[in-house]
């Protein structure tokens, strides 16, 4: 039987994989993809609760409404991040995050 715990565990695993990608990779584009994975993990969790949660219907719908907002913000964030990466590449000739140390103390 499919249950809420399945969704929660999948969400946690996806979030952990995304976190590993953000922390361990050096390329800015891969880090961006990993952030998208983490946002998707959050969406899986919200959708799980929207489907299985023992709430009033208005509150279950809210889960899906929130996912719409998360997806929109993710798109905005992605557009800006890609712009920053292109700018970075043009100025420094590299898209590795550890070479961006201009503001490092």
């Amino acid at each position: 039987m499919i249950s809420l715990a399945h969704f929660q565990v999948l969400s946690a695993a996806l979030f952990a994989v995304g976190l590993y990608g953000v922390l361990a990779r050096r390329n800015a584009v891969i880090i961006l993809m990993s952030i998208e994975l983490m946002l998707n993990a959050v969406n899986v969790n919200l959708i799980g609760f929207a489907a299985f949660g023992d709430f009033a219907e208005a509150h279950r719908t809210l889960g899906q409404v929130l996912v719409v907002f998360v997806i929109t913000i993710a798109a905005a964030e992605l557009a800006l991040a890609v712009a920053i990466i292109l700018r970075l590449y043009r100025n420094r000739g590299s898209a590795n995050v550890d070479e961006v140390n201009l503001m490092k103390w």
Binding site: H6, N43, A76, V82, A95
Partner: protein
């Protein structure tokens, strides 16, 4: 009890996690973006299993289409040769430890917390649309404004600065 929906869920879950691992493990960035497509389509499958048809559609269109294409554009506009043979940070074992730790904490929290659940229930297209355009109309308009401003900002940022240089 093994039901067809459970089998499908495991299939979508394996697809999602496999694609995600492909993103974070692969040495070639093109394979990483293919892994991202697989992961996002797996998530769309998971959405379908939770009866969120509208969001599954949105996931395929926005994520599987637009977002992956933007990322591939980013690869195309930066030189692709630089992306072969990607390397990890030196502290990747630490990162793996952190990821496993957060998974452990979350799994423990999931196991310990009792949530009152019900049978899987659908939130229909009409209900979702009604809520989105009545109770959540103002946030919806604000978020579309945010998206517009972000896109304009992105265009301004990547425009070559001819007058300064």
């Amino acid at each position: 009890m093994v039901t067809p929906s459970l089998v499908l869920f495991y299939l979508a879950g394996v697809l999602t996690l496999g694609g995600a691992l492909g993103v974070v493990m692969s040495r070639n960035i093109v394979y990483a973006s293919l892994g991202l497509i697989v992961a996002l389509l797996g998530v769309a499958g998971v959405f379908l299993l939770a009866f969120a048809e509208f969001l599954a559609l949105v996931q395929v269109f926005i994520y599987g289409g637009a977002i992956v294409i933007v990322i591939v554009f980013a690869l195309m506009l930066t030189r692709l040769e630089d992306f072969r043979g990607l390397s990890d940070h030196k502290q990747w074992p630490l990162a793996a430890l952190a990821a496993m730790a957060i998974f452990g904490v979350l799994a423990a929290a999931i196991a310990r917390t009792a949530v009152s659940t019900q049978e899987r229930a659908e939130v229909g297209f009409t209900v979702l649309g009604e809520r989105l355009f009545t109770d959540w109309a103002v946030p919806f308009e604000v978020v579309s404004l945010v998206l517009l401003v972000a896109l304009i900002g992105a265009v301004v940022m990547v425009r070559p600065t001819g007058d300064r240089n």
